[in-house]
């Protein structure tokens, strides 16, 4: 996993609530057995308009962007921090949604409401891939979202994961600094780009001990 310490990038806003993973990456693209190639498939059914979405095996062959989709605006191109509405990533457990967001060019997603910004599984999938899910206080989130609306294409932010701060710049006048919280264990893993499995294997003795003390009825019986 690529470590995440600080990141400066342009902001893009998708101010919709309850954006579900079927919207982020429609189910038919889940037939891909690779971890790559999902960038052009991000929001495919919104992004290209009707009939323009690519086939699962040829992500690069797609129709023209649909101007009605907010992230198709010129000022969103090249953005790397996605500002979204509450309960982003709800629905299915598909990690493909996180792969698509990351391969679509984003390193962080910012949603309003502590404990309410992201659906649980999306959030853990994000951490496991090095996509930083940031939940801001709703008032702070509103200022950030307004900065993007007021300064289209110019609003930028710097995320400092060690300090757990996000700072707005880029034509947005002042530079408010907002704080957020990331669970200690996730932060440690992200900053150092650690592999969770190796870390867990260090607990092998404890795992073995648990296995030995499990009740007999818990073991699967006949095949």
């Amino acid at each position: 996993m690529e470590p995440f310490q600080t990141h400066r990038g342009r902001l893009a806003l998708l101010d919709w609530r309850d954006v579900n993973t079927d919207l982020i990456i429609p189910a038919r693209y889940l037939k891909r057995i690779e971890r790559t190639g999902f960038g052009p498939l991000l929001f495919a059914d919104k992004r290209y308009g009707q009939g323009g979405a690519p086939e699962a095996d040829a992500p690069e062959k797609h129709g023209p962007p649909d101007p009605a989709f907010p992230l198709n605006a010129a000022e969103c191109q090249g953005a790397s921090i996605l500002v979204v509405g509450r309960n982003f990533g709800c629905g299915s457990s598909r990690e493909h949604a996180v792969w698509a967001v990351m391969q679509g060019g984003y390193r962080a997603v910012v949603a309003p409401g502590k404990g309410e910004g992201f659906a649980d599984i999306f959030e853990s999938n994000a951490y496991n891939n090095g996509l930083l899910p940031i939940e801001l206080d709703p008032a702070d989130w509103a200022i950030l979202a307004q900065a993007v609306r007021d300064h289209p294409g110019a609003a930028e932010a710097t995320i400092d994961l060690r300090a757990q701060t996000i700072t707005i710049h880029g034509g947005a006048g002042e530079s408010p600094v907002f704080t957020f919280e990331t669970p200690e264990s996730q932060r440690h893993r992200l900053i150092h780009g650690l592999d969770a499995i190796s870390e867990t294997l260090a607990h092998d003795a404890a795992i073995r001990h648990h296995e030995q003390s499990a009740p007999a009825w818990l073991a699967p019986q006949t095949r």
């Binding site: 309850d18 189910a27 037939k31 057995i33 971890r35 598909r94 867990t200 648990h210 699967p220």
Partner: protein
């Protein structure tokens, strides 16, 4: 201090814990073809093995064609299925393959085969793993990286222990009402984010009165309220599931007795232990129909499509987008809305009782002209049972299609899907945009409401179709 069922199961499975991170042991890992290929690849790349193939079980469900399971025309679907077969062979994982007699939607076969046990931890790379909580198992969906982690270590890292939300169901369901109506009403009451970060425990007399099938339907959609998991404390109904019929992987004889003695302790000592509690009176419910693009956008079948300002938990702009997508005008009685397709199946409502409910309504009636109706059993075993009871004949005589087991039209990944603009009455769990096919319009209902829509061609209060003598 009073302890919840959830806390008891959680504590039993802690392998290591720090203030912010908990390592949980996983008793059962269910695997399907969609979310596992990249996980097996990861193992291969790192030279790792599956730690406990005996606790890992796979099946094929999402990609399966339900007209003829054996003929997978889509080359990508075929490749995904074959990849699972190859991975199971390579890593020594048991696969319940198509036409083995045990294949089906992963959340339907888990209980049937006795893989799902009270007090166990169960994970699967699938959000509807919450289904298994109906047995008093702590069951939740995980992403592909976590699938890889569980394959390699049989454990999973979790943050601090989630909070608990008690959902009390009082009262009994009236005729024509089903567990699906209960869970839709719960989500409508608390919103799609109403239980984010929490584990829901359903309790109360209304839950005790339900069969295992009904409980599975309710726990299935916990995720639609944002919950980590849904739980129901095991009771005599749960135990009978194992004593009335032999479940291949479940304990038997003395081991089962020991298990049941232990399972009796799996209760919440006092409902005051929940962080929050909400209550729903099941006896006052009318059949529910979703009108919008998330499962909280629901009305009574006697109600009308709401306006964008009358939609709880949605900003007016979001509600307007939903109305537009669904092609609905506020104020329209939902019972005036016509359907093109009826889908009866999925891990929410693809079990035998669901098919019985649908058959009760369809018996002696005909599917309305112009409506296509698919009845899709959730597993090969459900299909066999339904045929033994003659339900297949009821559906076929009514003019419905009797299909083979799979996820089918629940999601647009196999040949069963909506065409753009088509409107469905569906017993599945998600009405998201495009869920059943790009630009398809999904309304979630119970099996008997779906059957009622099939025979009338529109959303119909199933209570009007019930035989008063029955």
């Amino acid at each position: 201090m009073a302890t919840t069922l959830f806390q008891k199961i959680w504590d039993r499975h802690l392998v290591a814990a720090t203030e912010q991170a908990n390592l949980l042991y996983i008793d059962r890992h269910l695997v399907h073809e969609v979310t596992s290929p990249q996980a097996f690849d990861g193992l291969r790349l790192a030279g790792r093995t599956v730690r406990r193939p005996d606790l890992t079980v796979a099946t094929i469900d999402h990609n399966v064609p339900t007209d003829d399971q054996l003929v997978i025309r889509d080359p990508l679907s075929k490749k995904q299925v074959e990849t699972l077969r190859a991975n199971c062979r390579e890593f020594g994982v048991t696969l319940h393959d198509i036409q083995s007699g045990r294949q089906g939607i992963v959340h339907v076969i888990g209980p049937e085969l006795g893989l799902t046990l009270p007090g166990a931890t169960i994970v699967c790379g699938d959000s509807h793993t919450s289904t298994h909580g109906a047995f008093g198992a702590l069951a939740f969906g995980i992403g592909t990286s976590e699938v890889e982690h569980v394959l390699a270590t049989q454990t999973l890292w979790q943050g601090p222990r989630p909070g608990s939300l008690g959902v009390e169901i009082t009262g009994r369901l009236a005729a024509g009402l089903e567990p699906k109506d209960v869970i839709l009403a719960v989500i409508r009451a608390i919103g799609t984010g109403g239980a984010t970060g929490c584990v829901i425990e359903y309790h109360g007399a209304g839950v005790r009165a339900l069969s295992m099938e009904g409980r599975l339907t309710i726990c299935n959609m916990s995720i639609e309220a944002g919950a980590r998991a849904g739980l129901i404390a095991p009771d005599e109904t749960t135990f009978a599931y194992f004593t009335d019929q032999e479940r291949p992987f479940a304990p038997k004889g003395q081991a089962l007795e020991n298990a049941i003695n232990d399972w009796r302790t799996l209760v919440t000592d006092d409902p005051s232990a929940f962080d929050r509690n909400v209550s729903i009176d099941a006896s006052t419910l009318a059949p529910q129909v979703t009108w919008g693009t998330n499962p909280a956008m629901t009305v009574d079948v006697t109600g009308v499509v709401p306006g964008p300002d009358e939609t709880p938990f949605a900003a007016p702009a979001d509600a307007r987008r939903a109305l537009e997508y669904m092609g609905l005008v506020p104020g329209t009685p939902i019972a005036k809305v016509a359907v093109d397709i009826v889908f009866i199946g999925s891990c929410t409502n693809g079990r035998i009782e669901d098919l019985r409910s649908a058959a009760r309504v369809m018996k002696g009636r005909r599917v309305a002209s112009g409506v296509r109706t698919l009845v899709v059993p959730g597993s090969e075993a459900v299909r066999k049972q339904a045929e033994a009871e003659g339900l297949d004949q009821v559906f076929l005589h009514a003019g419905a299609e009797w299909r083979q087991a799979g996820c089918s039209m629940c999601l647009a990944m196999n040949p069963d899907r909506l065409e753009p603009g088509q409107r469905s009455a569906s017993t599945s769990n998600r009405n998201f945009e495009g869920r059943q096919g790009p630009m398809g319009r999904t309304h979630l209902v119970s099996p008997s409401m779906a059957a009622a829509a099939a025979v009338t061609g529109r959303f119909t209060d199933v209570r009007e179709l019930l035989d008063p003598r029955a």
